[in-house]
C-alpha cells in the first residue's frame, strides 16, 4: 500500500471515489501526491508537484466548475471519519488544529473557533482540511551523514528550507540513521521532541514512521519542557526537534549546548541569508552555535540539496543542487 492510500478510508465516500479514480487515471501524479485539500464550497484540490483540481471521475480538471465540489457536510463527515465517528475523541485535536492518522499523515484543520476569555478553546465547526501525506524515504540523508559527525560525535546541525522542500522527511531519516547506526561511525541514543507529531507520525502515542531503534519519542510536548524531560530522564546523545525559530528556542539551544549533547533541528528559511536575517535564528548563525547548516529547496523538486555549510567558519562544505534520493 502506498503512503497516500492509507488516508483514503478516512475521506467522505464521494471524495474517496474521486481520488481512487485519480489514482488509476494519473498514477504518476498520485505517486507525487503531497496534499489533499477539502474546503467547504470549493472544488476538490490536490498538490502533486503542482496544484490540481480533480473531477468526480478522477481526472485533473481545467476549470473549477468541472471539479468535484466539496460541501460543508463533506468536510464535517471527513472529520468524523478521522475520529472513528467519535468526535469526542478529537477534543485535544480540535484545540490544537490537527489530527494524526495511522501512517503518520497529518491533517490540518481550520474553521469556526470557539473562544472563551480571549483564548481559543477549540474549533467549533471545521470547514477546511489539509491532509499532508507523510513519506518515509529511507536513506535520503545518507550522503549528508559524513558532514554531520566528527568522530563518534553528532554535530549541532540545523536543516533549513522553504516550506514543503522535505525538511521533516530529511530530519526523520537522519534521526533513524543516527539511531540505527547506519552510515555513522557508531549508533547514538536519540531523544526526539516531536511537538507537532510530524516526525514520528505518532498515532495514539506509537510512532508510525521508522525513527530508529534507539530513539525515544516525546509526542505533542512543548519543545522546552520536552528537551529537558528527555535530558533528565532518557540520557540522549542527540536531541532532535522540528521547526525551531520561535522566541525562546535560541536559549533552548544554548542550554543544550551546555549539556554537550548534539542536536538536529529544522527551521523555515529560504536560504542562508534569509536564515541569518531571521531575528530568532540570527544569533545562532552569527555566534556559530550551530556547527552545520544544511539547506534544502524545491528547485529540482522536493528534497533538493543546495549545500552544507560549516556554521562556525561559514565555509561551504558541499555546494550542489541535486535531489536527495532514497536508498535501499
Amino acid at each position: 500500500m502506498s503512503y497516500a492510500e492509507q488516508v483514503l478510508p478516512f475521506l467522505v465516500p464521494k471524495v474517496r471515489w474521486a481520488l481512487e479514480r485519480f489514482r488509476r487515471v494519473a498514477p504518476e501524479k498520485w505517486a507525487r501526491l503531497e496534499e489533499i485539500r477539502l474546503r467547504a464550497g470549493q472544488p476538490l484540490q490536490v498538490e502533486a508537484g503542482a496544484s490540481l483540481l480533480v473531477t468526480a471521475d478522477g481526472a485533473p480538471a481545467v476549470r473549477p466548475d468541472q471539479a468535484l465540489p466539496v460541501e460543508a457536510p463533506d468536510v464535517l463527515r471527513t472529520v468524523q471519519l478521522m475520529g472513528g465517528n467519535s468526535l469526542y475523541t478529537l477534543e485535544e485535536e480540535l484545540r490544537e488544529g490537527f489530527i494524526t492518522l495511522p501512517g503518520g499523515h497529518r491533517v490540518g484543520l481550520a474553521g469556526e473557533c470557539l473562544v472563551g476569555r480571549g483564548t481559543l478553546l477549540r474549533l467549533k465547526r471545521v470547514t477546511s482540511i489539509n491532509i499532508r501525506i507523510a513519506r518515509q524515504l529511507k536513506g535520503i540523508g545518507r550522503r549528508l551523514l559524513p558532514y554531520l559527525t566528527i568522530g563518534d560525535r553528532p554535530l549541532r546541525t540545523i536543516i533549513i528550507s522553504p516550506p514543503q522542500a522535505g525538511k521533516t522527511t530529511l530530519l526523520r531519516d537522519l534521526v533513524r540513521s543516527f539511531s540505527n547506526g547506519e552510515g555513522v561511525p557508531a549508533p547514538v541514543k536519540v531523544g526526539l521532541v516531536d511537538e507537532r507529531g510530524e516526525v514520528a507520525g505518532s498515532y495514539r502515542g506509537v510512532p508510525q514512521l521508522d525513527v530508529g531503534m534507539r530513539t525515544d519519542v516525546l509526542t505533542g510536548c512543548p519543545k522546552r519542557e520536552g528537551v529537558f524531560l528527555l535530558l533528565r530522564s532518557m540520557g540522549p546523545q542527540l536531541i532532535a526537534t522540528d521547526e525551531i525559530g520561535r522566541p525562546g528556542d535560541l536559549e533552548l539551544i544554548e542550554e543544550i549546548l551546555n549539556t554537550g549533547v548534539g542536536f538536529i533541528a529544522t527551521a523555515h528559511a529560504w536560504d542562508t541569508k534569509d536564515f541569518a536575517r531571521r531575528p530568532s535564528l540570527q544569533r545562532l548563525w552569527a555566534r556559530g552555535l550551530v556547527e552545520r547548516v544544511v539547506l534544502l529547496s524545491r528547485r529540482l523538486g522536493p528534497g533538493t540539496l543546495e549545500g552544507v555549510w560549516n556554521g562556525q567558519t561559514k565555509e561551504a562544505l558541499l555546494a550542489e543542487g541535486q535531489r536527495l534520493e532514497a536508498k535501499r
Binding site: R77, G84, N85, S86, L87, Y88
Partner: protein, 171 residues
C-alpha cells in the same frame, strides 16, 4: 382419542400462557442488560474517551448474548467500508436485531433516539445523552418489571383456563 385431543389443547394453551409470561420477564431482563451496557458506555466515553467502535466491541463482549449483537453489530457496521455515520450504523444494528429481542415499540423508540447525537458532539454531551437514555430505559424497565410481576402468573393461569374452556365447550 378425544381425551388425547383434549390434553393436547390444554397443554398447548398452558404453554402459550407460560411463554407469554416468560416474554414479560425476558423484556425486563433485556432492559436491565441494556442499562448495564449503557452505563459501561458512559464510563468508556466519559473517562476513557474511547472511540465508539472500540467501546461497543468491548462492552458487547461483556453483555448477555441477546443484547450483545446490538452492540457488536453496531461496531461492525461502523467499521465497514460503507462509511456510515454512527447514527446510521446504530439504526442498522437495531433493524437487524429487532426480531430477535422481546422489546416493545416504546423500548425501540428509546434506543433509536439514542443514535441521533451518537458520536457527533463533545464528551460532556455524549455522557449526558447516555444518562438520558439510561433514565428512559430505567423507566421502561420499571414498567416491564411491574407488568411481569403482576401478570406473569395471570397469563399462566389464563392460558390454562382458556385451554380448559375450549375443552369444556367442544368436548
Amino acid at each position: 382419542m378425544r381425551i388425547f385431543g383434549a390434553l393436547l389443547v390444554m397443554a398447548a394453551s398452558t404453554a402459550a400462557g407460560w411463554i407469554y409470561g416468560a416474554l414479560l420477564k425476558k423484556r425486563w431482563q433485556l432492559l436491565n442488560a441494556l442499562i448495564q451496557g449503557f452505563q459501561w458506555l458512559g464510563t468508556e466515553i466519559g473517562y476513557g474517551s474511547v472511540p465508539l467502535g472500540e467501546a461497543f466491541t468491548r462492552i458487547g463482549a461483556r453483555l448477555p448474548k441477546e443484547v450483545q449483537a446490538l452492540f457488536t453489530g453496531f461496531a461492525a457496521a461502523l467499521n465497514g467500508a460503507a462509511g456510515l455515520t454512527a447514527d446510521e450504523a446504530w439504526q442498522e444494528s437495531l433493524t437487524q436485531n429487532r426480531d430477535g429481542l422481546a422489546l416493545t415499540a416504546e423500548d425501540w423508540a428509546v434506543l433509536s433516539d439514542f443514535g441521533r447525537t451518537l458520536g457527533t458532539t463533545d464528551r460532556e454531551h455524549q455522557v449526558s445523552a447516555i444518562r438520558q437514555t439510561i433514565a428512559r430505559l430505567t423507566h421502561q424497565a420499571t414498567e416491564a418489571e411491574g407488568e411481569y410481576r403482576k401478570n406473569e402468573r395471570l397469563y399462566r393461569y389464563l392460558g390454562m383456563a382458556a385451554g380448559a374452556l375450549v375443552v369444556l365447550v367442544f368436548y
